[in-house]
């Protein structure tokens, strides 16, 4: 269950930063999740919600921005392989589709660069 441990790490970081800023409440957390990471966003959000209960982050809204990998080919082709970043979880391409993407110029299998992130971008707090 690696969403739980990732959620713990996110939660601890959020609370530490909120404390440093003497916050009374955390209103929202914005995350960036790479589309190639093996993280199920729904499970991650559920774990975060459970962990936040009875803390200053209770009920905080979690916004997720997805980051697509770049496809690179030895012929020099380079392009974002993604769907629009405002797409919801259900619109995500499967890992299988990414893994089999080929270069539109020469037809070779694309090398995928990036898309492995799990970034806590910002938190919105009350001071």
């Amino acid at each position: 269950m690696h969403e739980y441990s990732l959620a713990c790490e996110i939660f601890e970081t959020v609370i530490a930063i909120a404390d440093q800023n003497k916050a009374s409440a955390v209103n929202s957390i914005t995350l960036e999740i790479g589309r190639l990471t093996h993280v199920n966003p729904d499970q991650l959000l559920f774990c975060l919600d459970v962990l936040s209960g009875d803390s200053i982050a209770e009920g905080a809204k979690v916004n997720v921005n997805f980051v697509s990998p770049y496809g690179e080919c030895e012929c020099g082709y380079r392009e974002d392989t993604g769907v629009p970043d405002n797409a919801c979880c259900d619109d995500q391409q499967s890992l299988y589709e990414y893994a089999l993407m080929t270069c539109p110029v020469c037809g070779k299998l694309l090398q995928l660069v990036g898309g492995n992130e799990l970034i806590i971008q910002t938190i919105d707090i009350d001071i």
């Binding site: 970081t13 930063i17 093996h38 990414y98 995928l112 799990l118 971008q121 919105d124 707090i125």
Partner: protein
């Protein structure tokens, strides 16, 4: 009350990658060749490592980190072969991470080690995101998992350096086609070497050992 947006910009995954990098530096400094052996429960990781230990232990100094959720069964199998073994229990986690490997390596005399086998927790998904500092990533898939297993778990085959299709001697009994599995692996990662192995076929096991030796010359 004041609303305030704090820029955090912390990559949770990056912390593991940085630790993996320092593990790698430590391994290089001590001239240790480390292999991360990944694969599902029952794919045959332990047996393949045992075979390698038996074939190589007279010529090389070997240590093993045996990753498991709770038990120490695999670790005791390696200990019986007379090699330094550290059981790395993840507790509830589905993968080894760089921190656990760093801690396990504290219990191994790296100066007295040529090869370090790291047997990951049985799983084709979570280990993908966690680099450990290894030199080579090996994915083991057995025919008994079904010959559609490769395409169902594409990223582990994209990110590995060697793929092993194991237990090919029972393919017929489990209605699996090992050549389809090999072709699927090559479709996902055209440059990856693929070995078809069975513990009952000595030649195939020798190929696995030759692969390891090719890094040690």
């Amino acid at each position: 009350m004041l609303m305030h947006v704090v820029n955090v910009n912390k990559d949770v995954m990056k912390a593991n990658n940085e630790l993996a990098h320092s593990n790698k530096k430590l391994l290089i400094k001590n001239r240790v060749f480390a292999m991360n052996i990944m694969g599902a429960i029952g794919s045959g990781k332990t047996t393949l490592i045992e075979e390698a230990i038996n074939a190589l232990k007279d010529r090389y100094r070997i240590a093993v980190i045996a990753g498991d959720v709770v038990a120490e069964m695999d670790a005791s199998r390696f200990e019986k072969l007379g090699v330094r073994t550290v059981a790395a229990n993840t507790g509830r986690e589905c993968h080894l991470d760089a921190k656990l490997v760093e801690r396990s390596m504290e219990n191994i005399d790296l100066e007295d080690t040529d090869i370090l086998f790291i047997e990951n927790v049985g799983n084709l998904i979570c280990p993908v995101d966690y680099k450990l500092g290894e030199n080579v990533r090996v994915v083991v898939v057995s025919v008994s998992e079904g010959d559609d297993t490769v395409l169902k778990h594409p990223m582990i085959f994209r990110t590995s350096d060697l793929a092993i299709v194991n237990k090919v001697d029972i393919s017929e009994a489990v209605s699996a086609d090992p050549s389809k599995m090999k072709a699927d692996i090559e479709k996902l990662n055209p440059s990856i070497p693929v070995l078809l192995t069975s513990r009952n076929d000595r030649i195939s096991i020798d190929r696995w050992i030759e692969y390891i030796e090719s890094y040690l010359e």
